[in-house]
Amino acid sequence: MRRAKPAVRRAATDDDAVIRTRRLTKRYGTLTAVDNLDLVVHRGEIFGLLGQNGAGKTTTILMLLGLTEPSSGEARVMGLDPEREPRLVKRRVGYLPDAVGFYGGLSGRQNLRYTANLNGLRRDVAEHAIADVLEQVGLTDRADDRVDTYSRGMRQRLGIADALVKTPDLLILDEPTTAIDPLGVVEILELLRRLVNERGLAIMLSSHLLTQVQSVCDRIGIFAAGRLVGQGTVDELAATFGDGTATIEVGLELPTPADRSRAQAALGSLSGVTEVNPPAKDGDPWQVVVRPASGEGRVRQEILVVAVDQSLRLTTLRPVVPSLDDIYRLAVTRTAA
């Protein structure tokens, strides 16, 4: 994302790590669910765990909360060892489980009250916090209805409220946006961003929905078969998993075949251009591949000049931004190979 992220810059020092794991491993029999995981999440950032179902995301989260023991390696959450001091960790970490459930016979507010009691909040503090988080997730109107009557999206939002009741320093959200309609997703993501900006807490969320992760996360970790194959911002991941080339889309109006070959030759003659791919169908843009990727800006300028010289009529000219989809596919296939 092209967004100013001062928080992340500031968080570059080690002391700001809210989550840090070293060679964290979990084996179930012969299956290695999480394999030598080295992960760092800083204060004030949203970290996205990306991976298919069964890639080890939830297992990692459970180990961070001390809900399952690592086979080897270690984890630190807020500087605490979740294996030895799980209660201190859980007091400060809000967790939204995958497929979160509530006591259907109780109202949303009663469910949150139970969580507040389990966290040892004083009654007045609890009531205040509950009203506050219900407002934040937009459930104030339905707070006193039985959870039985809630839609799945409302339950999900109640789950986020539940994770926030204890005023955590870190939020761990397992698939927070599943079952929420597209408009609701935008609201939730905005809420998360606001929480980070206002309260300065850190969020780790897992998802398999790439666009959401890309739109809200400062940094991303890509999980494949229990291993973290990449970690960083989208740009950093693109640099890691790209093949060192950049692609430019060039839209041209070319009425005759002669024009086409002229364009092919002109584009191909530019320095740094390694490939010129004409479109499969008329009207689509041409793909110009540049190596090294850093030469992309210069080449784009030269294309403009060439187009004027050769009197080729340009319709579009733009660099192709690597999408998280591409990066993810590359990362997963490359590590599988």
Partner: protein, 345 residues
Amino acid sequence: MSAADTTLTADPVVAEPAAATPRDPLPRAGWRVVAAKELGDHLTSVRFVVLLVVLGLAAAIPLYFAADQIRSIAPQASGFSAVFLALFTLGSQDISVLRVYEFVGIVAPLLGLAFAFDAVNGERSEGTLPRLLAQPIHRDDVINGKFAAGMAVIGLVLVVVVGFIAGFGMLRLGIVPHGNEVLRLLAWVIITFLYVGVWLAFGLLLSVLVRRAATAALIGFGIWLLITIFGQLITTLVNGILAPAADATPDAILANAQIQQFITRLLPSTLYRETSVVLLNPSVNQISAPTSIGQVQQAQQQIQSLFSLDQSFLLVWPQVVALVFLLVVCFAAAYVAFMRQEVRA
């Protein structure tokens, strides 16, 4: 664990100092919060009302017969000992099962099972377990709290039902318990509480081990049926097979009687019934089969007299210990299984 320790010391970067203490102290007794919530759930549940009615009926029906008999012996009541306890021990002269303690013994296990069979697997299938365990409580707070809440409801129901019977006796029949009778009644309530506790712990064990609540309920009620209804049938059958030949020596007959007794005592319902009979009836001085001819003769020469409560306890303490043992074993099994289970199914 040791591997983690060595890497910890080898790499100081990871070993950050423990961060600032949390703003609020950790809750001290998580099990109490769990128990309070569970108790609230139980008391407002349909289940609670149904069980109260069922157990109430189970007590009221034999009580009707008991009252009848007490009225009939009322003229000579001065010679009759422990009239008040007769409310619980007397019943229909034709049907021996029709007595309060027998009926309570049959129905009470339902109480235990009903408040436990979905305790853990229910949370699991509703998806509330991971959320609950992610709160700053100990893991065993969950199962301890649930057990405590179950025991509290059971205690409440028993006190209500026994209070109803005692109240009926005092108001309608005009019989007032003496101090000794009150103590015996109290002891019986505690034993019943323990016995239901065994079933509660067993239900809890099922709820931990069996993934689906409906299956757990079916297994639990199946075993209840087997023990309370068919239990005596089965032991009679086994004992019939083991019965000594007609020309056996008295010693062989005695030895056989002991084996038969051992077999019947494998059932918790037998343990409970034997304890109830002795505690509620001060004149009962023997529940075990005699072990020698001498004891047989002794028993025949004994003068009928009333026992004090501690003397009665001496008779049944093995049964009481066995009940406590069963309770502890069931709960410990549930506890250990729960602690070792993965959070995710």
